[in-house]
Symmetry: C2
Subunit: 142 residues, 2 copies
DNA sequence: CCTTTTACTTATCATTTGATAAGTAAATAA
DNA sequence: TTATTTACTTATCAAATGATAAGTAAAAGG
């Protein structure tokens, strides 16, 4: 096993993943939010409820900047902040009704592009793809 | 085959790929260039020679902004512009000596983190990983 | 009780990025 | 030959992003 060759394969692979992700997600986000705000909403959507600290960690964003973007999202009525009753310094962030709606539309648009992309893929290939994703998820991208 | 479930698996997978990519690449880039400039250099490194138009297309960047960043990279002596002798409107962009050096250091740093990450992975698992990457590259992320 | 730490906020600033208008020079088409 | 298109540049501007200093309020520790 040539670990060096595997590294080059990985570089090429991650580049492809980024490119395809971009193709699937471009134009999916509403014009009323910035890319960084969309990225935060995406994270909240799949992990809610989350605290500002968790968002800061996972989005590699400083707390002051996270706080600013959350304030903007809150002003746009896309998220709700709920103060923890046990530790009143903490907050739990959730998508609001409008936020859920916006993210549902975005995900639907991405999914429809994805379904379009795999429409001609055979059942056998789809099963192979699924197994390959599971394997890489478990053994490489954990 | 539940195509909807496959989509959710893909969302989770691409998120993991992005996260791991970030972990492997963070701090790899020199402080003397911006993230966008690094991304351009990475593209040039694996695809050189490339034209400004190709960079513009692949990096989803307008020609004016591409031109500006290439000028900055040129001023930093990281790239070289060679005018096409057949069509004098065109240019071919290559990494300069300093550019090659900078990107080699970046890739070495990323590779060493990667090797560190897979050091405890068995030979059999590495072979499975390689097959899975090949399969996804061919059938999903083409 | 007092000090320190934690979680988050506010304010400010420089830099980066993205968008657009206008321009040059070379190649191609009419 | 002239008009049009292509490849790239220059200039300018607003917005987004990142970094830092300083602050509040609650919790935890001594």
């Amino acid at each position: 096993m040539d670990k060096n060759a595997l590294f080059y394969k990985l570089v090429s692979f991650t580049t492809s993943v980024h490119r395809v992700t971009h193709e699937l997600t471009k134009d999916a986000k509403s014009d009323s939010i910035t890319p960084v705000q969309y990225s935060i909403l995406e994270y909240i959507a799949v992990s809610q409820p989350v605290t500002p600290s968790e968002i800061s960690d996972c989005q590699y964003m400083s707390m002051p900047n996270t706080s600013r973007e959350l304030r903007k999202l809150s002003e746009k009525n896309l998220i709700e902040k709920i103060i923890d009753t046990e530790d009143r310094r903490k907050q739990y962030i959730r998508l609001s009704f409008n936020g859920e709606k916006m993210m549902k539309e975005a995900f639907d648009s991405i999914e429809s592009r994805f379904q379009n992309r795999i429409q001609d893929t055979s059942k056998e290939d789809l099963e192979e793809i699924e197994r390959a994703i599971d394997l890489l998820q478990e053994k490489l991208f954990y």
